[in-house]
């Protein structure tokens, strides 16, 4: 049995509602006791790590990363990406499917999860909604889920066709998965690199009109509402405009969509 005491840190555990100085005892890699500073009862003989001035927190989860494997190992591999995540305190990451090929098959999903990939932490693949993320033919979500996929998304190629999106939401709901939609009507954002406004004008950059985001968000929320019977689950990624936020907030009040992931469009 190995025992480790982490002493003097500030424990931040949002799920438990804790933000206070705490000492922690780990036994065999698991939390055995949490107590006020100096009050651990079972710590006898344990190795001590001084965490003064540091934050102690449960392993962080990044539910939107791009590991670039398969196909773009020159940018990032599952091993290098997860090593970087581990260094930053993450113990789980959900990997988006914009790989080459797109992760639209159980084979690719399993390949990502294979021990040979050398992941340093847990990887949760997010599978593509449509074949090749082309926005046309829906994938087999049941097979993808049993291979290990935790959610469905066409990532940076948002599902623009209303019929396809409706079908994806319904099919994902049947197998208990949520659809993550990148909030952008890409038909309105060709060549654009930031939100449209006086600043994009001043910088000489093509801007994305706010409607390019809000129109997709509002449409998808309307569909989720219509699909309430099958408990469709939508997750809105990359919201960055007041209009889209307002739509999400309104939908959450009415209880039909998950909290939006709040992340500016320019970050990835």
């Amino acid at each position: 049995m190995t025992a480790l005491v982490i002493r003097g840190g500030q424990l931040i555990d949002p799920a438990a509602g804790v933000d206070a100085p705490k000492d922690i005892l780990l036994k065999d890699g698991k939390v055995a006791e949490i107590a006020a500073p100096g009050k651990l009862k079972l710590a006898n003989g344990a190795e001590v790590l001084d965490a003064k001035g540091l934050v102690l927190a449960p392993g962080l989860i990044d539910m939107h990363v791009h590991l670039r494997e398969p196909g773009q190992g020159y940018k990032e591999t599952i091993a290098s990406g997860t090593a970087a995540a581990a260094a930053g305190g993450f113990t789980s990451v959900a990997a988006m499917p914009n790989t080459v090929p797109v992760n639209d098959s159980p084979e690719t999903t399993r390949w990502m999860l294979a021990p040979e990939r050398g992941a340093a932490i847990r990887v949760f693949p997010i599978a593509a909604a449509t074949r090749g993320s082309k926005g046309e033919a829906i994938n087999d979500f049941a097979a993808l889920k049993s291979a290990g996929a935790v959610a469905i998304s066409d990532d940076g190629r948002p599902i623009l066709k209303e019929g396809v999106m409706r079908e994806a939401l319904a099919a994902a709901a049947r197998v208990g998965l949520c659809v993550i939609q990148h909030a952008e009507d890409t038909r309105l954002t060709q060549g654009a690199s930031m939100n449209l406004g006086p600043m994009s004008f001043k910088l000489g950059l093509r801007g994305m009109p706010a409607e390019s985001e809000s129109s997709i968000v509002e449409r998808d929320i309307r569909m989720v509402t219509e699909l309430r019977e099958v408990r469709a689950h939508l997750h809105v990624a990359h919201t960055s405009t007041a209009a889209a936020l307002a739509a999400v907030r309104q939908a959450r009040r009415s209880g039909c969509a998950s909290p939006a992931r709040l992340r500016p469009t320019t970050s990835c």
Partner: protein, 326 residues
Amino acid sequence: MDLSLDGLSGVLSRATFLENQNPLERTRTLAKRRVALLFYESSTRTRTSFELAAKGLGADTTLVSSLSSSIEKGESLKDTGLTLRALGAEAIILRHNSSGSAWLLESETRLPVLNAGDGMHEHPTQALLDLRTILAHFDPSTKTCHPERAQRVEGPAVPVEVNAETLAGVTVTIVGDILHSRVARSNMLLLPRLGARVILCGPPALLPELAAGAGPGISVERDFQAALAQSQAVMMLRIQAERLAGLQVDLEDYKIRYQLTEQRLAAHAPSAIVLHPGPIIRGLELTAGVADGPQSVILEQVTNGVAIRMAVVERALLATEQGGRA
């Protein structure tokens, strides 16, 4: 390059000094220093005047353009800049089709980079030479511009000391494809700092309403005649076909509303000066009669480009000597 008003006066003052200096003496200023011109877009005026300016100061210049260089083989902007630095370039004059490229090249090479136009963003030396042109025609006693160069009893032919009030009461209208114009952006940000009012004029497709929010002293006026009637200087712009990106512009309708004709000029702005950064398309944004007419100062702008660029090239290389940035 964010020049203070003092820095601006310094550039204008050096431009006048260098322009009037004995050419042989002038070549000692930067004798055998190395300046690279890196041009990803075609250019006549800017490239030639930068080159003549650097050579006029005695520097060795070399031109790398996107055609006929390794850029064609896929070499990146960063690697091209590092290569030029390794060849001994002490400053790079860059024209590039991406907004922000001059900033990027400077941060990657740590060399002074003179922005000769980056995408739709800025063209700072054009605004400086436009300012010098406007000042040469500006009469401070009446706060107006005249097509004849202002007669000055004493001091240099072009004022070189400027402050936040220098152009108070002056209105400059910039007309046409504002959306895609780096010249418009640089001018609309520079001229109000000297007290001028800038009116932007053009159709909504080429001039979004939010342009007025780019800085202080800027307003949007869709009616060309109304804008002309308020203006001491009118700056016409070319429709930039290469940046329209699928935008449909009805050129016949554009000409009806926004072409500067001799009749329009005579009726609404008979004493204003007419500027154009070039290249001009005769018969589109302005008529040949206006381009060649008595109110046109278009070729003076070109001439002023050499003096202004001598001053900024000198400034950039002196900044390197002092370990600072341009």
